[in-house]
Protein backbone atom coordinates (compact mmCIF):
# COMPACT_ATOMS: atom_id res chain seq x y z
CA UNK A 1 0.00 0.00 0.00
CA UNK A 2 1.26 3.45 -0.91
CA UNK A 3 0.90 6.27 1.62
CA UNK A 4 1.33 9.93 0.74
CA UNK A 5 2.09 12.53 3.42
CA UNK A 6 1.12 16.19 3.48
CA UNK A 7 1.75 19.33 5.53
CA UNK A 8 3.53 18.65 8.82
CA UNK A 9 3.57 14.90 8.01
CA UNK A 10 5.91 15.56 5.07
CA UNK A 11 8.89 15.46 7.39
CA UNK A 12 8.44 11.67 7.45
CA UNK A 13 8.88 11.56 3.66
CA UNK A 14 6.56 12.49 0.80
CA UNK A 15 5.52 8.90 0.20
CA UNK A 16 6.15 5.46 1.71
CA UNK A 17 5.34 1.92 0.66
CA UNK A 18 3.76 -0.07 3.48
CA UNK A 19 3.93 -3.86 3.05
CA UNK A 20 0.32 -4.98 3.55
CA UNK A 21 -1.03 -8.40 2.48
CA UNK A 22 -4.73 -8.00 3.26
CA UNK A 23 -7.35 -5.25 3.40
CA UNK A 24 -7.20 -3.29 6.63
CA UNK A 25 -9.60 -0.95 8.42
CA UNK A 26 -8.33 2.62 8.64
CA UNK A 27 -7.88 2.42 12.42
CA UNK A 28 -5.53 -0.58 12.00
CA UNK A 29 -3.71 1.20 9.20
CA UNK A 30 -3.07 4.14 11.51
CA UNK A 31 -1.43 1.76 14.02
CA UNK A 32 0.74 0.21 11.27
CA UNK A 33 1.96 3.63 10.20
CA UNK A 34 2.74 4.51 13.81
CA UNK A 35 4.80 1.34 14.11
CA UNK A 36 7.05 2.32 11.18
CA UNK A 37 7.30 6.03 12.14
CA UNK A 38 9.30 7.67 14.91
CA UNK A 39 7.69 8.41 18.27
CA UNK A 40 7.08 12.06 17.44
CA UNK A 41 4.71 11.04 14.64
CA UNK A 42 2.42 9.11 17.01
CA UNK A 43 0.52 12.05 18.49
CA UNK A 44 0.13 13.67 15.09
CA UNK A 45 -1.08 10.40 13.51
CA UNK A 46 -3.84 10.23 16.14
CA UNK A 47 -5.17 13.48 14.65
CA UNK A 48 -4.73 12.41 11.03
CA UNK A 49 -7.39 11.09 8.69
CA UNK A 50 -6.77 8.82 5.72
CA UNK A 51 -8.23 9.76 2.38
CA UNK A 52 -8.49 8.93 -1.30
CA UNK A 53 -8.58 11.61 -4.00
CA UNK A 54 -12.38 11.43 -3.71
CA UNK A 55 -13.04 11.56 0.04
CA UNK A 56 -11.94 11.16 3.63
CA UNK A 57 -12.25 7.55 4.84
CA UNK A 58 -14.02 6.55 8.05
CA UNK A 59 -12.02 4.72 10.73
CA UNK A 60 -13.95 1.47 10.14
CA UNK A 61 -13.57 1.47 6.34
CA UNK A 62 -11.44 -1.23 4.72
CA UNK A 63 -8.47 -0.21 2.58
CA UNK A 64 -7.17 -2.59 -0.10
CA UNK A 65 -3.46 -3.50 -0.25
CA UNK A 66 -3.14 -1.92 -3.71
CA UNK A 67 -4.61 1.42 -2.61
CA UNK A 68 -2.88 4.79 -2.64
CA UNK A 69 -3.91 6.61 0.51
CA UNK A 70 -3.23 10.18 1.63
CA UNK A 71 -2.45 10.82 5.29
CA UNK A 72 -3.95 14.19 6.19
CA UNK A 73 -2.93 16.00 9.40
CA UNK A 74 -5.08 18.78 10.95
CA UNK A 75 -5.77 21.37 8.26
CA UNK A 76 -4.81 25.05 8.35
CA UNK A 77 -5.92 26.61 5.09
CA UNK A 78 -7.24 30.12 4.55
Amino acid sequence: MKLRFFGPMRRFGGEIELPVAESLPVRELRERVKAVSDASAGALLEQCVFATEQRVLRDDELVEPSAVVAVLPPVSGG
Partner: protein, 149 residues
Protein backbone atom coordinates in the same frame (compact mmCIF):
# COMPACT_ATOMS: atom_id res chain seq x y z
CA UNK B 1 -23.93 26.18 -17.53
CA UNK B 2 -26.83 26.75 -15.12
CA UNK B 3 -28.05 30.27 -14.44
CA UNK B 4 -26.39 30.29 -11.05
CA UNK B 5 -24.03 28.05 -9.13
CA UNK B 6 -20.39 27.32 -8.43
CA UNK B 7 -18.48 28.87 -11.33
CA UNK B 8 -14.94 28.25 -10.04
CA UNK B 9 -13.59 25.96 -7.27
CA UNK B 10 -9.85 25.58 -7.71
CA UNK B 11 -6.46 25.06 -6.13
CA UNK B 12 -3.67 26.82 -8.00
CA UNK B 13 0.05 27.54 -7.68
CA UNK B 14 -0.03 30.89 -9.48
CA UNK B 15 -1.19 34.32 -8.28
CA UNK B 16 -4.95 34.71 -7.82
CA UNK B 17 -6.57 37.17 -10.23
CA UNK B 18 -9.60 38.56 -8.39
CA UNK B 19 -10.73 40.53 -11.46
CA UNK B 20 -11.06 37.28 -13.36
CA UNK B 21 -13.08 35.76 -10.49
CA UNK B 22 -15.34 38.84 -10.44
CA UNK B 23 -15.92 38.38 -14.15
CA UNK B 24 -16.84 34.72 -13.61
CA UNK B 25 -19.66 35.51 -11.15
CA UNK B 26 -21.18 38.26 -13.25
CA UNK B 27 -24.94 37.77 -13.38
CA UNK B 28 -27.51 40.38 -14.46
CA UNK B 29 -29.89 39.13 -11.74
CA UNK B 30 -27.29 39.78 -9.01
CA UNK B 31 -26.92 43.29 -7.63
CA UNK B 32 -24.46 42.39 -4.85
CA UNK B 33 -20.93 41.06 -5.25
CA UNK B 34 -18.78 40.37 -2.19
CA UNK B 35 -15.08 39.61 -2.53
CA UNK B 36 -13.20 38.13 0.43
CA UNK B 37 -9.43 37.72 0.26
CA UNK B 38 -7.21 36.02 2.81
CA UNK B 39 -3.78 37.66 2.63
CA UNK B 40 -0.44 36.65 4.17
CA UNK B 41 0.10 38.71 7.34
CA UNK B 42 3.50 39.77 8.69
CA UNK B 43 2.90 38.79 12.33
CA UNK B 44 1.55 35.68 14.05
CA UNK B 45 1.66 34.91 17.79
CA UNK B 46 4.18 37.72 18.23
CA UNK B 47 6.58 36.33 15.60
CA UNK B 48 7.60 38.29 12.52
CA UNK B 49 6.47 36.33 9.44
CA UNK B 50 8.31 36.76 6.12
CA UNK B 51 6.38 34.25 4.01
CA UNK B 52 3.96 31.33 4.18
CA UNK B 53 4.10 28.06 2.24
CA UNK B 54 0.83 26.32 1.46
CA UNK B 55 0.67 22.59 0.82
CA UNK B 56 -2.51 20.90 -0.47
CA UNK B 57 -3.86 17.49 -1.38
CA UNK B 58 -5.10 19.10 -4.59
CA UNK B 59 -7.58 16.53 -6.02
CA UNK B 60 -9.49 16.22 -2.74
CA UNK B 61 -9.10 19.92 -1.96
CA UNK B 62 -10.78 20.91 -5.24
CA UNK B 63 -13.65 18.49 -4.60
CA UNK B 64 -14.00 19.80 -1.06
CA UNK B 65 -14.03 23.42 -2.26
CA UNK B 66 -16.78 22.53 -4.71
CA UNK B 67 -18.82 20.81 -1.97
CA UNK B 68 -18.30 23.69 0.47
CA UNK B 69 -19.49 26.21 -2.12
CA UNK B 70 -22.50 24.06 -3.09
CA UNK B 71 -23.49 23.65 0.56
CA UNK B 72 -23.16 27.39 1.20
CA UNK B 73 -25.43 28.23 -1.75
CA UNK B 74 -27.93 25.36 -1.32
CA UNK B 75 -30.56 27.47 0.38
CA UNK B 76 -30.17 30.44 -1.99
CA UNK B 77 -32.56 30.90 -4.88
CA UNK B 78 -29.73 32.50 -6.83
CA UNK B 79 -26.02 32.73 -5.99
CA UNK B 80 -22.78 32.44 -7.94
CA UNK B 81 -19.45 31.54 -6.39
CA UNK B 82 -15.83 31.61 -7.49
CA UNK B 83 -13.39 30.31 -4.90
CA UNK B 84 -9.65 29.70 -5.27
CA UNK B 85 -6.92 28.67 -2.81
CA UNK B 86 -3.22 29.09 -3.48
CA UNK B 87 -0.36 26.66 -2.96
CA UNK B 88 3.37 27.32 -2.91
CA UNK B 89 5.41 29.97 -1.12
CA UNK B 90 3.67 33.34 -0.70
CA UNK B 91 5.22 36.60 0.46
CA UNK B 92 3.52 38.94 2.94
CA UNK B 93 0.63 40.69 1.18
CA UNK B 94 -0.04 37.95 -1.36
CA UNK B 95 -3.55 36.49 -1.61
CA UNK B 96 -3.82 32.95 -0.25
CA UNK B 97 -7.57 32.50 -0.72
CA UNK B 98 -10.22 34.44 -2.63
CA UNK B 99 -13.99 33.99 -2.46
CA UNK B 100 -16.21 36.01 -4.79
CA UNK B 101 -19.98 35.69 -4.38
CA UNK B 102 -22.77 37.33 -6.32
CA UNK B 103 -26.41 37.30 -5.20
CA UNK B 104 -29.46 39.47 -5.89
CA UNK B 105 -29.00 41.39 -2.58
CA UNK B 106 -26.08 42.04 -0.20
CA UNK B 107 -27.17 40.09 2.90
CA UNK B 108 -27.01 36.73 1.11
CA UNK B 109 -23.66 37.51 -0.51
CA UNK B 110 -22.03 38.31 2.85
CA UNK B 111 -23.59 35.27 4.47
CA UNK B 112 -22.50 32.84 1.71
CA UNK B 113 -18.98 34.29 1.68
CA UNK B 114 -18.67 33.93 5.47
CA UNK B 115 -19.96 30.34 5.42
CA UNK B 116 -17.39 29.41 2.77
CA UNK B 117 -14.34 30.85 4.54
CA UNK B 118 -15.34 29.25 7.86
CA UNK B 119 -15.74 25.84 6.17
CA UNK B 120 -12.38 26.26 4.38
CA UNK B 121 -10.68 26.82 7.74
CA UNK B 122 -12.16 23.61 9.17
CA UNK B 123 -12.41 21.22 6.22
CA UNK B 124 -10.09 22.02 3.32
CA UNK B 125 -7.04 19.68 3.04
CA UNK B 126 -4.54 22.55 2.91
CA UNK B 127 -1.64 23.23 5.29
CA UNK B 128 0.17 26.42 6.19
CA UNK B 129 3.85 26.66 7.09
CA UNK B 130 5.06 30.03 8.34
CA UNK B 131 8.61 31.23 7.68
CA UNK B 132 9.95 33.61 10.33
CA UNK B 133 12.47 36.44 10.36
CA UNK B 134 14.84 34.38 12.55
CA UNK B 135 15.12 31.67 9.85
CA UNK B 136 12.83 29.20 11.66
CA UNK B 137 9.73 27.67 10.00
CA UNK B 138 6.67 26.06 11.56
CA UNK B 139 3.52 24.28 10.42
CA UNK B 140 0.44 25.69 12.15
CA UNK B 141 -1.54 23.38 14.45
CA UNK B 142 -4.79 23.37 12.49
CA UNK B 143 -8.15 21.54 12.79
CA UNK B 144 -8.31 17.74 12.71
CA UNK B 145 -10.54 16.25 10.01
CA UNK B 146 -11.34 13.27 12.24
CA UNK B 147 -14.50 15.09 13.34
CA UNK B 148 -15.65 14.98 9.69
CA UNK B 149 -14.60 11.38 8.93
Amino acid sequence: MSASGVRVAAIQDIAIDTNELLRRVTDPACGAVVTFCGVVRDLNDGRKVLAVSYDAFAPLAERTLQQIAERATDSQARANVAVVHRTGRLAVGEISVAIVVSTPHRAEAYSVSRAIIEAIKHELPVWKQEHYEDGDSEWLKGCSLRAHA
